[in-house]
Symmetry: C2
Subunit: 336 residues, 2 copies
């Protein structure tokens, strides 16, 4: 039997360390790809820059091709302006490759808002999906949890929240293999009656659904609870995501403050540094390797600007899985 | 010149460790009260229980009287039901003492929602205040910041947010002595155009005000920014507050996980425990000693259920300061 061949387009110019991390991640993905899959990488970006980096890396052998893109979308570009003004960018062209069926997925650590809006407009929504959504994994005491939406949808209607729950459940079930994932609705109290108007309405929809809805959960339950999926509006989700990312900064500054107090403290911290590093690494979003943009007619994986080669590798492999497990087909079946 | 005499009523039955922590905190407050103030504590609660605890503590000498209250408000009581059904509770009676001018302030580590609703209804709002608010201090890399609202007002109008900013600024200026405190509006991007409808409208009001408004801030800036006051709706504020409180739980579980892996790890963690304890204590909300309910006609300080004697002490001393600095009069002047 012939192995299925998947073409994954990578935004070689996206991310803070592009194209180096993107190229190294691609090479690693190629090495770690499941044996039953034939992986081809499309490096989308400035041909000369990519070639020069490949050269620096000793022109490693892996199955790839370069798709030249003249322009680069920066973090400063207005997301919606890319659709008009940067059609020759690696970001736009990567999504376009998916639209034209020339790539099976697109992976980018670039401007998240631009990936979101470009993908939503070019690829369109899966039938039945009210709004595409971006989630993020949060590390927890018992398990990590996928929180969505984390910023794609600032103003939400109850139906959007419901759709996030359905898409998140399907994704977690298919990709993490957790059957009947537990879904919580982020609110300010566990009782059904607690929350703002949006939450109260969304609660009703979720309660009537056939999802494994465990009810309202509170802010503390994001890290210490046992949900697999947590849904909220994109305003709230974005704020807790960014808040969470800054917790490590605070911890580090406190430990540094301790070390700076005396030589004895400094020596003690030095000894303990490997432990801190290990624990902080465990809590680092990057190791989760990007998150899917769910709900568009295509497989799109978005990564943090600081994505390491490891994160890029994981993003590519997650894209492969999402194609293999036909996540989008399941979403359409559930929401149509 | 005669020293001013302040009577501070304490909810002796509020809090998870009542009345012990409440009584010990009161004694400590008496000892640490500024010399220019004559402090009298009104211990509100079950007389026999309070007397028995005072007896256990060797009947220490300090200026107090007991105001007997037959009932106790628990964490399970519906906040608004207290007004109807628990008029003989320490919580209700404490607020009533303030209303009748028999106490200058009321301090409680009991049911926050019940303190909020009872105070708002019994004492009424300060003229010009659209909604009373509860804030909370968040420890930060550079400084701690007062975030408000953290749950008193789940649905907000732009004007509420503006009022929170005014009240928070006055409180921080008067109590912490920070002149012209920096005010940030919690949103999902720094640009004026970023946020939900509520934030966009509130932004306009704040921009036109004579507050030291620094604009929108993001989730990460709560811990790493340089604001003195951050305003948001009570839904968002409550979620990040509870999320923040759970971060320590996550950190502890990660360190425990490391220690449990081997005897060597355990010994290493044992050595490092004093440092962790020190850092975690620095980050602990309890040391901030309660927060004011701002906007009612009275001085009300609310503490966490787990408040230690130290926290109770700080709450009482904060109440004294708030009376001395005439915070409520300033609020009326600014908002009338």
């Amino acid at each position: 039997m012939q192995k299925p061949k998947y073409k994954i387009a990578i935004d070689a110019m996206g991310g803070d360390f592009a194209p180096l991390n993107e190229i190294e991640g691609a090479i690693q993905a190629f090495k770690h790809c499941p044996k039953n899959v034939n992986l081809e990488i499309l490096l989308v970006g400035k041909e000369d820059v990519i070639k020069s980096h490949l050269n620096t890396l000793g022109n490693p052998e892996f199955s790839y091709s370069i798709v030249h893109a003249d322009e680069v979308v920066t973090m400063k570009d207005e997301p919606t302006a890319v659709l008009k003004n940067k059609k020759n960018s690696s970001l736009y062209m990567g999504v376009e490759l998916v639209k034209q069926g020339k790539a099976d997925a697109f992976v980018s650590a670039g401007n998240t808002g631009a990936v979101l809006s470009t993908s939503t407009i070019l690829l369109g929504r899966i039938q039945g999906v009210s709004r595409p959504t971006i989630g993020s994994y949060f590390p927890g005491v018992n398990k990590s949890v996928l929180v969505l939406d984390v910023g794609a949808n600032v103003e939400c209607k109850p139906r959007f929240i419901y759709d996030f729950a359905v898409m998140g459940s399907i994704y977690i079930e298919k990709i993490l293999g957790i059957s009947n994932p537990k879904v919580g609705l982020l609110s300010i109290g566990e009782e059904d009656s607690k929350g703002n108007e949006l939450v109260l309405q969304a609660h009703k929809l979720l309660k009537e659904s056939n999802l494994n809805f465990v009810g309202n959960i509170e802010g503390r339950d994001v890290l210490t609870g046992d949900c697999d999926v947590i849904v909220c509006d994109g305003f709230t989700g974005n704020i807790i995501l960014k808040f969470a990312e800054s917790v490590m900064t605070l911890m580090k500054s406190k430990f540094k403050g301790f070390a700076d107090k005396s030589l004895k403290n400094k020596l003690m911290m030095g000894m303990f540094m490997p432990v801190l590093k290990k624990v902080f690494t465990d809590l680092d979003y990057q190791n989760y390797g990007g998150v899917p943009l769910l709900g568009t007619n295509g497989v799109i994986i978005i990564g943090h600007g600081k994505s390491s080669p490891l994160a890029i590798r994981n993003m590519i492999l997650k894209a492969v899985e999402q194609i293999e497990k036909e996540v989008n087909k399941e979403i359409e079946k559930a929401l149509k």
